[in-house]
Structures are given as structure tokens and as C-alpha cells.
Amino acid sequence: AADAPLYVVINKSADQQYFIDLQNAFVAKTEELGGTAKKFDAKLDPALGVSLIDDAISAGAKGIAITVPDQTIGPAIAKAAKDAGVVLIATDDSIVDEAGAPVPFVGFDGKDMGKKVGEAAGKLLTEAGWLNDSAKKVGVLSVEVQTLSVCNDRTDNEKEQIKLVGVTDDQIFSVPYTGETLSSQDAAGPIITAHPEITNWVVFGCNDEGVLGTLNALATAGAKPDDIIGVGLGAYEACKPWAAGQPSGWKASLFISGLDVGNTAAQVLHDAVVNGVVPPEKSFAPTSIVDPTNYKDLMDAISVGNCSK
């Protein structure tokens, strides 16, 4: 279809499983709707994010869905899209244009995700009753990519939420990492060592990889799964021990389906471009905290399949 409308999906780091799902779903949905699609990778580089918008426009895109490598580039890309008369929507990390007006948004706000994860961790912690048990000392490990504002949005909100259930600042320890499992694992080890007084741990972070690394480090330090509340963000690493029926520190994870976001984004763009529907300011894809008991029902088939890969 030569005259089929072209849509471009740009993600901040297209080599992470979540965005791989998102982009694949976006392409599939677009083609189902009779359009064509291209996938770009911003490699966590803000400047590249801007360049890719130009490339997308050059490629003749009618609509662009972007997960920005950094929210501050919003105005720059919003202007570029507007000047070229291309429909722009933000996925997962909301952005604003030069006037400060929000760009139509699909998915979940980073803050929103952090809130959900924090809440879940708080809930599990209260249920465990560790805070009231004088025999137990609770420590919270917040696994942070301190150089990425989109990650800080998440972890800041997670910390905010956990404090609502009675955790104090001096109980929260930051684990600085770079986004991959190994760096989180290496950083967490000594931090855990530095606090032998802690008997029970709560772990959350910027993504499942980060939480996984820290949980591995806790295991190495001899912490028992029962003394750990690990809440991930993504659920693609969390569900693996669940699927294998292995005891682990993973107690829950926020399942954010890249597939759903991809589908919805494609649909919204298509409606706007072909049917002239003004994109809704916010369209949320379903998101849910999953745990070993319910993940099979709440996650889609493909994601569940990956759990046993």
C-alpha cells in the first residue's frame, strides 16, 4: 500500500523487553488498520530523540508515538511535529509543548507507575506487620537510575508512597545503578552489608532488571525470601521465578503491558489521521499489580509465555 499512512513509533530504549513488546504491538496493530509503521530507537539520548522526530517527518510519517528519552525535550519535538503538521502522541512519559499544554498521552505516567508500585509495597509491608514487630528492623532499597529523570519520577513516588505507611527516611537506602541487572547487583551488595541491623527488606526500583539485581544481591547476602518484599516494575523478570514455582523475593510487580500501549497508541494515531478524531488528552492502558497467584490471569498470553522463556 504505497499511499497507506505511515506511523512511526519511537522509544527511549528499544532494546528493553517492554519496548520491544510495545513496538511489535504497534506495528502489528497499524498494519491491521491498513497503515505502515517504522520503529526508531532513541538509545536514552535526548538529542537523538529530537533527531529521530526529524527523521520520522522526513520519512513521511503522518503520526508519531514517542516515549521520550527525557521529558524536557517535549517542547522541542512538539514544535517540530506541529510545524510539519504531524500528529504526535506521548507514550508512558507525558510531555508538554512550548505553550506548556500537555501532548496527547497514551499509557501510564511515570509518576503514576511509581505511585502504584509504592502503594503495593506499602500494602504488602503493612500486611506483613513487620513495622509493628519490635523484633524486626525494616529497610527499604530504592533502586535508582539517578541520571535519568524519568526513572527518578518513578522512584521518588515509590518512596513517597512507602513513607505513608510509616517508613521513615533513615530506613530508605538508594541503590544507584545504570539500568542493567548487573550494575544494580554490584551496587546493592555493599549497601546491604553496611546495614546488618536490618532483618527485613522492601525492594522497589525503576524497572524489573534493577529489582532483580538487588534481590540477587540479597540472596547472596543470605536473606530469606520470606524476609523480603520485592515489588518490580514491568513484571517480565518477576514472573520467571513464579512460573518456575521457585520461592523468591518477588512478591509483586506492576504489569504494564507494552502490547496494550502499542495497540492503543496505534489506534489513537489512526483515528486522528484517517478519521480526523482529535486524540483524547489521556488514554490509559490497563495496568495492574500482579502477584504469583494472579499473574497468569492478568497478563496477556504472550507475556505469560515469556515468563517460562
Partner: protein, 372 residues
């Protein structure tokens, strides 16, 4: 043998035809690169369609050439030009990416002001020129530090700048108010650096139905800096000293060249240019973000080598680097147009670098064929 040498001589004198002039200007070393680039463009814009890939036809549109390609190459281009000076002198500056980060943050800070950092208060100046100079100054100071470490502490350049890479990256974040990006959208004068266009209303015909929208200010800056540095390297005693030091530092020292001073100067130049790149990053991303510029060093260094510089120093030209930057930019741009995925793009980029260098090696080895 004597005649033998004289003939060598004559040839080089006879070479005065127009074509030879052109080739001399491009430089025979750069010729391969230039041809390789032509081939690449042909592959993208024509051959791709034979394989039913859409998008290639969009390559030759003003929108693509001027808005995508011409802007995408600017940042790495600037870093690479500065890097060339250091590499020709037999050194290596791995810190350019982090220096750019610092420039980015500093420029944004003095522009919109960030209240108090430690003891010093930074109030908004709102002045683009001041911001640019501040960013370049930050880069120059970073370069000076590199230079002092290399010349006074006698730390090898590669190692010194490996250290600086980490150190300056950290400093960039420490400079920004608790590591957060500093937005500059409120400064049209500043963002004009990235969004402005020159010669907009020149009557240039549309290209494949995309009409002329002018030359990006960014691109003009890159070209300007490139030309300046080309002249510096080729016609000033500083430039010649760089080649001498890179070729044989002992010879340079014995000839009375103040090696230390030249090296410090060179790091300050590469630093200032990196600082400028950082400023433009801030303008382009509408934010003085400490991660601006991270991981750009390898791209810049790649371009310099692709441009024909020798890893052992003494060889390399600004113009070659410039060609290489355009080459890499074209590749990335083309693959996005054609919709290659990120993994395929990585493979292609790697193969391009190897292929291009292998070819020029082959050409040279033809000359020294006898040698084993």
C-alpha cells in the same frame, strides 16, 4: 636511483590539472571516503527500492537533507572536529562527551539562572551570547585541566581523559540543581540556535516535492567551526606543531617546539568545541540536561578514525573527519528512512566503519604492494 627520485618529484609538480586540483583539495586519502559516501547514498536512495524497501525515495528531499541529516550530524560533528586535533597530535580525548554535558548545564544555568549552587548564586542573564560563551568557557577550563594532567603530571592522554570522562560526567550532575535538567524553552533567543533557519526565503526549487525551508543555524555553526579548524591545522604554526608532535614528539622537542604548551592549547581547543557542542545540545533538546552528550565520545572518535586519522598520530585532516561525520549521519538517517530496526542498524554501522577503512587500507597497500 637518483633519476628515480627526481621522477617522483616531477610527477608531483606536473599534477596541476583541474581534476588533480580537486583531488588534492579533497586529499587522496579522503577520496575513498568520498566515493564510499556516494555509493552509500546510491544504495539508500535507489538500490533500496529494488528490494521493495519504501522510504529511500525520501532521501533527496529538502526536509530530509536540511532538517534531518544536516542537523543530526552537528553535535557529533563538532566533537569529532575537536577530537581530530587531539588524535593527530598522537593523543586521545575520551572526555569530550562529558565536557559537552558540563557545557550544556552551565549554559542553561547562566541563561535561566538556578539560584544558588553551593556558595555562588546564579541568576538568569537571559542572554544567549553570554550563555554560549559560558558553555565554551566551561569546556575550555575542562580542557585546560586535561592538558595540565597530561603535561604536568605526565599522565598519558588516553588515561587522563578516561578519568576525566567519569569525573566531568559526575560534575555535570553536581552542577545541575540536584542533578535535574534545566529547561530553557522560555528562551526563544537561545532555542533559535537549534530551530532557526537562514536563507529561508531564497528561491530554491522544491526537491521531490518538499520545498526549501532554509539552512539550519546549527549546520552553519558546524561548517564555520570546521573551516576555522581546517585553516588552523593547515596554515598555522600551531597546526603544524600538532602534526609534528603527533608524528615524532622527540623531533618536535628537539626542534624547539614547546610540546607542553601546544598540548595544553590543543586540549583547550577540543574542550571549548565540546563546550559549544554542549550549548547547542541544550538548545536542541530545549534543556540543559546533564545526560546531554553522554556516550557521544565513541561516535566522535569513530568518525575521526573513519576520516583517515592514524591511531598513532601524525596523520589525519579536519576535512576527512567532516566527510566521515556526514557518512555516518547519512547511514543512520538512511536506515531510519528505510525502517531498519535498532539491532540491524548497529550491525550496519559496524560493518560500514570496517569496510570503509579496509578499502582505504587496500588502496594504500596497492602503493606499497611490495612490502609484506
Amino acid at each position: 636511483m637518483i633519476t628515480h627520485v627526481q621522477t617522483y618529484d616531477k610527477n608531483s609538480l606536473e599534477k596541476k590539472g583541474f581534476l588533480n586540483r580537486v583531488i588534492n583539495f579533497i586529499g587522496t586519502d579522503n577520496l575513498t571516503l568520498f566515493l564510499a559516501w556516494i555509493v552509500l547514498v546510491f544504495l539508500i536512495s535507489v538500490v533500496s527500492t529494488w528490494f521493495g524497501l519504501s522510504g529511500g525515495s525520501k532521501f533527496f528531499t529538502w526536509q530530509n537533507l536540511m532538517n534531518s541529516l544536516a542537523q543530526a550530524v552537528v553535535i557529533v560533528g563538532l566533537l569529532a572536529v575537536g577530537e581530530t586535533v587531539v588524535i593527530v597530535a598522537g593523543g586521545l580525548d575520551i572526555s569530550v562527551g562529558s565536557v559537552a554535558s558540563c557545557g550544556s548545564v552551565v549554559a542553561a544555568s547562566v541563561l535561566v539562572g538556578i539560584g544558588t549552587v553551593g556558595s555562588l548564586h546564579i541568576f538568569p542573564t537571559g542572554n544567549t551570547l553570554v550563555a554560549i560563551l559560558a558553555g565554551m568557557l566551561a569546556g575550555m577550563i575542562a580542557g585546560l585541566l586535561n592538558g595540565l594532567v597530561v603535561t604536568k603530571l605526565h599522565v598519558n592522554a588516553t588515561i587522563a581523559t578516561l578519568g576525566a570522562l567519569a569525573a566531568f560526567a559526575g560534575i555535570a550532575f553536581l552542577l545541575a540543581p540536584d542533578g535535574k535538567p534545566i529547561g530553557v524553552v522560555t528562551q526563544p533567543g537561545f532555542t533559535w540556535l537549534a530551530q532557526g533557519r537562514l536563507l529561508q526565503n531564497m528561491s530554491i526549487p522544491a526537491l521531490n516535492g518538499s520545498k526549501w525551508t532554509g539552512i539550519p543555524v546549527l549546520t552553519v555553526i558546524l561548517v564555520f567551526v570546521t573551516i576555522i579548524m581546517h585553516i588552523v591545522m593547515r596554515y598555522t604554526d600551531f597546526g603544524r606543531a600538532i602534526y609534528a608532535i603527533g608524528g615524532n614528539a622527540t623531533a618536535a622537542r628537539l626542534a624547539g617546539i614547546n610540546v607542553s604548551r601546544v598540548k595544553i592549547g590543543m586540549f583547550m581547543i577540543s574542550g571549548s568545541i565540546a563546550g559549544l557542542a554542549g550549548v547547542l545540545l541544550a538548545a536542541r533538546t530545549t534543556s540543559g540536561n546533564p545526560i546531554n552528550g553522554q556516550n557521544l565520545e565513541l561516535q566522535a572518535i569513530t568518525a575521526v578514525y573513519l576520516g583517515g586519522a592514524s591511531t598513532s598520530g601524525g596523520k589525519g585532516t579536519i576535512f576527512g573527519t567532516f566527510l566521515a561525520v556526514i557518512m555516518v549521519g547519512t547511514l543512520n538517517n538512511g536506515m531510519n528512512l528505510l525502517g531498519f530496526n535498532t539491532f540491524a542498524q548497529k550491525v550496519a554501522l559496524g560493518l560500514l566503519l570496517i569496510a570503509a577503512v579496509a578499502i582505504s587500507q587496500f588502496r594504500q597497500s596497492q602503493a606499497e604492494k611490495a612490502r609484506k
